[in-house]
Amino acid sequence: MSKLSQKHLLGIKDITREDIELIFETADNFKEVINRPIKKVPSLRDVTIANVFFENSTRTRLSFELAQKRLSADVVNFSASNSSVKKGETLLDTVNNILAMKVDMIVMRHASPGAAHYLSKHINANIVNAGDGTHEHPTQALLDAFSIREKLGSVSGKKVAIIGDILHSRVALSNIFALKKLGAKVMVCGPPTLLPKFIGQLGVEVEFDVHKALQWCDVANVLRIQLERQHIKYFPSLREYSLYYGITKKILDSLKKPIVIMHPGPINRGVELSSDAADSSHSIILDQVENGVAVRMAVLYLLAGATS
């Protein structure tokens, strides 16, 4: 028997190492399924899922929708930009209206940290957090760790450097929780203005020199500079950022050992990652995307299947 310890997936902080391992083992099986000629299984045929996106997303939303369709769930999509949210409806009212149409699960992205937690306290359906502000993005962290496990055999004992805009990144926080739970060593690296002040208290190493970070790590998870969240200047210019923190093939070739390059997308080519590095054999960026569907199928399957 196999069951997650939680009814919702709100953040990696709330789940256990055993939960993560169960999700990975289930995702292994779904990865085999999505590589079959017929990529669909009927497990969730009596489940309706609403993807409620209050913030823009291409990859995550598409990945969730594909995962849901390959599990045979019925899917409805909602995006705030063309909805009654613009007319002043509250989050709870919006979601309760969707649930009144007999929806079983909610996948939600919201700009406010804690939005998914708030929702879970007030409604009955399973909730999957697809990103809440600068807080958590649990499925991204799961697929990142799953991709490391696939590429290097395991996550435990591996050195992972998370490089870039840590301050605004929900991917960074969820990754730190997931990697630490799985026994990896984690380092964060970026300009001092883009590192949260007390990040060291999460048990991660802090490095300001990207060359030293790359020399240290087995895996570099490179994050995007989130200009849309930066209302003040955190560094002088993109050109300067790219000069000091941009990762190029030349830097990768100069390292003592080959490292794995990851990126949660969308890439700003030429800023945090040069084209030749993003497209090199070091990169597993497209594997991450493929694994995203399998991992999300596993999460939805395990949450929907636990009825008690």
Binding site: S2, E32, V41, P42, S43, D46, Y301, L302, G305, S308
Partner: protein, 180 residues
């Protein structure tokens, strides 16, 4: 808890030999036949059968594992989802004669799920079912095995326990257990 031995090691060997002979009679040279073991426990019986058939016929017979967890009809009808196992079918079953192998045939529901999941790998010409133990009177669907190791009359309150050396047990033994 009462335990009754249904098959011991010697009898199991005889049963396996008989099942192989029956399969050979119907499949001639096995050129169009593939063997698929059902996860999680049918794969051990399937492996024993496959090994013996390859030895007896001196032919290579394609062999795979099938997991039907995602096709089960009791998903969301039990407290926790069943853990899935690996599916490994590295060949195409389109136009082939599939021999599906499981350890125990009980309600027939996992066989229904297996037949459903097989469609993802092509349309076989025929599908036959081999089971080591057929639990009579417990079927919930119109499903029957083509080759049966041993038929036993059981109550729903009983359980058949298959212990095989391949699963790490000391001896091959098959038990009927009363669940009290």
């Amino acid at each position: 808890m009462q335990k009754k031995l249904i098959l011991d090691s010697d009898l199991l060997d005889l049963t396996i030999s008989r099942l192989c002979q029956q399969l050979i009679e119907n499949h001639n040279d096995f050129s169009e036949t593939v063997i698929i073991g059902m996860q999680p426990r049918g794969i051990y019986v399937a492996e024993i059968l496959h090994k013996k058939l390859e030895k007896d016929t001196k032919k290579e017979i394609p062999f795979g594992y099938l997991d039907a967890t995602f096709y089960r009809d009791d998903f969301r009808r039990r407290d926790t989802p069943i853990k899935a196992s690996e599916t490994r079918i590295d060949f195409i079953i389109e136009g082939k004669k599939v021999v599906l192998v499981d350890d125990v045939l009980f309600t027939g529901r996992s066989i229904r799920a297996a037949m459903d999941s097989m469609i993802a790998f092509g349309r076989p010409t025929t599908v036959e079912l081999v089971v080591l133990i057929d639990r009579k009177y417990n079927r919930e669907l119109p499903i029957a095995a083509d080759y049966v190791g041993k038929t036993v009359n059981t109550l729903a309150s009983q359980r058949v326990l298959v212990e095989l050396e391949a699963q790490g047990h000391k001896q091959n033994k098959i038990w009927l257990i009363n669940k009290d």
